[in-house]
Symmetry: C2
Subunit: 121 residues, 2 copies
DNA sequence: GGGTGACATCAACATGATTTGATGTAAGCA
DNA sequence: TGCTTACATCAAATCATGTTGATGTCACCC
């Protein structure tokens, strides 16, 4: 999982992301793959929030919010911090950076790909 | 649609992508939202290809490939060039760049969000 | 200790997207 | 002109993921 921002795993090998690997796509889908999840990401990009805030601000059910937070957490994009009975979440910029780099590399690659055309049999 | 790489629309307003708008998420999903589509993107990142190549290389059905190409084309990530009975497709780096910028901005925003925490009632 | 509230998890259901095969149109060739 | 091939589109079937309500655990408070 070169591009997947899993907690602490392979974060020292960004150079290997010269090609868009399945991990880049999977990471992007984990981050944005659903409108509600994207909304959660947007809210967390503004400030740390606990589940109750996210429930109030999105209007979604608590269990739905928890489900999406789990997806984001397991993908490494957010980290959780229990505070008494509340759990605060924050976006991890370092994880987003990996995604940025991955797509930037794909962009660079696409520049060169334009001049290459395989003949059809 | 500030972040959606629609052909020629609003490409002069990247500065407005300081916040991850719904369009950033939608664009990402259009690009990577499905394993086959991500595979197509990866292949097109290497070289221009026609539908018949993509069918051969992915093993997917022609109509499935056409469907995904349509999604990518309508989202502005690829452009089509009919060549006789063949249609060649290429990735548009300029469209990928917008996505890169959008996520980079989200990353920057997330840096500041870390220090902000809303109290729970 | 008992009651309340936050929230993670579970299982069933709903929804939206992908896949499939059929079909029509256009290009190439004899 | 007729035949073959590439591929875009359509509608139905299939599949994956999101949503829901219930439940259990834990933290807080009186």
């Amino acid at each position: 999982m070169l591009m997947s921002p899993v907690a602490g795993a392979d974060e020292d090998a960004p150079g290997h992301a010269a090609v868009a690997q399945p991990d880049l796509a999977e990471a992007a889908v984990k981050l944005f793959g659903d409108p509600l999840r994207a909304e959660i990401v947007r809210l967390l990009a503004r400030e740390q929030m606990c589940t109750c805030h996210l429930v109030d601000d999105t209007g979604a059910r608590q269990s739905t919010i928890s489900h999406h937070l789990r997806v984001l957490r397991e993908a490494g994009f957010i980290s959780a911090e229990p505070r008494g009975r509340y759990t605060y979440y924050r976006l991890r910029p370092e994880a987003l950076s990996l995604l940025t780099v991955g797509i930037a590399n794909l962009t660079a690659q696409a520049h060169h790909a334009q001049a290459i055309r395989r003949p059809c049999v």
